[in-house]
Symmetry: C2
Subunit: 346 residues, 2 copies
């Protein structure tokens, strides 16, 4: 009984040594051929390739990674993919990575931060793209144990400790609000994620809500915040009921700025149920420009991020960082574009 033969289950995989023996060369030579190394005679290269093909040999990436320290894996930290925005982001990232022969390891942000750090440590991945830790980024950076691990952030925030792509919604949001003001709208409210009781908490968000507040103050208007519950389920009847309650109790604003398109969709449904006409009685704008927005009747306005560009840039930054760890900090600001549709037209 030969030892180490694993006769119990399936056969051993064919290794580089097997190929070497069959081809009458050394493992090193096979290795060189598999990596496309130049200094091998055409004769041996051809033979090795032929034999490897016949034996159905595949390089064991695990073993290679152990010695080279490079895995060809990029970890992507994202929010739940049932949110179309993040699904689209991951989609474009995947296309970028695949074009360079990398594969993606998907990680959700609802794991413990320590667990996230752990999953990406110890040369298990060549780099990290963080696209969904808004609000917990500082905490995450603090817990990172391997500072040298390449890491790029995609975020509405900007910060000084890491490479990042910043998405700046301020110009587009300002433009939308100005459109409403120009159209003579008097009562412009913001619908964001928060609670109806303490809607002002949402202003702690560095990004969109504060832009709204600034614009309101600049125009001398009253700030009106409508908070809807955060919800893992995209489809939330409770949200719609809450919105209808709000509009029935407080009357309806004549301009509504929504944190993102799903909320805009819920608002649309609530308004439609109550018989309000868009845009005659209420103007409406969302954010992210999800595909369905333009199909609604009337077509709903939104703010479109150039996702392909964002992801290409993030991947470029990460590749640069991998190639040159000591590169100075890289950053870029992307400015999304307001898509004006009927819901914003006077």
């Amino acid at each position: 009984m030969r030892p180490h033969q694993k006769e119990d289950s399936r056969l051993k995989n064919v290794t580089i040594v097997d190929v070497a023996e069959a081809a009458g060369v050394t493992a090193m030579t096979v290795s060189r051929v598999m990596k496309g190394y130049k200094h091998v005679s055409p004769k041996t290269r051809e033979k090795v390739l032929r034999v490897a093909g016949e034996m159905n040999y595949t390089v064991n990436m695990t073993a290679r990674a152990l010695v080279t320290g490079q895995t060809g894996i990029i970890a992507v930290i994202t929010e739940h993919l049932n949110h179309p925005y993040f699904a689209n982001l991951i989609h474009h990232l995947e296309l970028q990575l695949a074009s360079q022969g990398y594969v993606m390891r998907l990680l959700y942000t609802d794991e413990e931060l320590d667990s996230l750090v752990h999953s990406t440590k110890s040369s298990a991945v060549d780099g990290i793209i963080v696209a969904g830790l808004h609000g917990r980024v500082q905490e995450y950076l603090r817990r990172r144990t391997d500072e040298s691990q390449p890491c790029v952030f995609i975020s509405p925030e900007s910060f000084s400790e890491a490479d990042y792509i910043r998405i700046d919604f301020r110009p587009a949001l300002t433009e939308a609000i100005q459109l409403m003001i120009t159209a003579g709208r008097k009562r412009i409210a913001y619908v964001g994620i928060g609670t109806l009781d303490f809607p002002h908490q949402m202003l702690h968000w560095e990004g969109r809500p504060s832009t709204y507040r600034d614009e309101m103050e600049k125009a001398g208007r009253r700030v009106e915040l409508i908070g809807v519950n955060p919800s893992i389920e995209i489809d939330s009847p409770a949200r719609i009921e809450a919105l209808k309650d709000y509009f029935q109790t407080n009357g309806c604003p004549d301009g509504l700025v929504c944190f993102h398109d799903e909320i805009a969709l819920h608002v649309f449904r609530a308004l439609t149920d109550l018989g309000y006409r868009i845009p005659d009685e209420v103007m409406l704008v969302g954010c992210d420009d999800l595909p369905f927005m333009k199909f609604i009747e009337p077509p709903l306005s939104s703010i479109a991020e150039p996702m392909a560009e964002i992801c290409a840039l993030a991947w470029k930054f990460l590749q640069m960082r991998i190639a040159a760890p000591d590169l100075p900090l890289q950053c870029a600001t992307i400015t999304p574009q307001l898509m004006v549709r009927k819901s914003l037209l006077a």
Copy 2:
């Protein structure tokens, strides 16, 4: 100058041996502690854990994988994630895998089949879930080199060479068509992916279109197939224009069955633009029950797959197969449910 110290770039990672030395034990003991092995004295366990924590030690999964042959990685082969159906599928799979400590490696089906096979071979992953090779499954199975690698399919088709979850749309689709017939609709057409010139090619699809054809024949109705171009972009103005052309040229059917919800959305837009009233003049049903369907005015009917259930089952099958490679073939059929909304109500 000490050899192997890599002074050029960052310091070496702390290994199991470093921890062992610092804790005054052997590497083996540290290994046992890290794996939660029972037969270690509480004293040493505690000390090792403390030291490991202080030294910020993390198990190198690559090295572990090399010797155990298990990576904790599951490959998932899917269509592009900008399609909400697949994004939702991946979402639920991710939740399942993460709950068991596995991570997901994302692979897109538009790579070469050989490339897919290659990426999952050689013990690089513990198992595979295939969720988007419809129509190329046979070819994929033929090219698999490592038959023993656990692999589960999620598919509208059923087959005998591998474990699978089959999604059977026939009952729900039949129900929708019967609703239209009962409502007195005379001209019921199917809108699928194909070409306007050769729409009958879509009947080659084993699933939904053939169900439609069967029901039409059973009812003695004429089969009317409307083909829209396949499109990587979800948002396709060309499709809408083509649909409007079709309806203007041929008149509009009074019942429309759509291959999936995006097509239903495009049809909705085309009908709305042309002034047709839903459901009075045209009844409409889609497939996949994407979240926006119920928000459209009027709310659009669809067919809802129980995605959480599907993914839980697929993951269960895969785990079973991993644990017992010689298990008999596993299969299950899931029956989605028709969501009747205003677009189907007489």
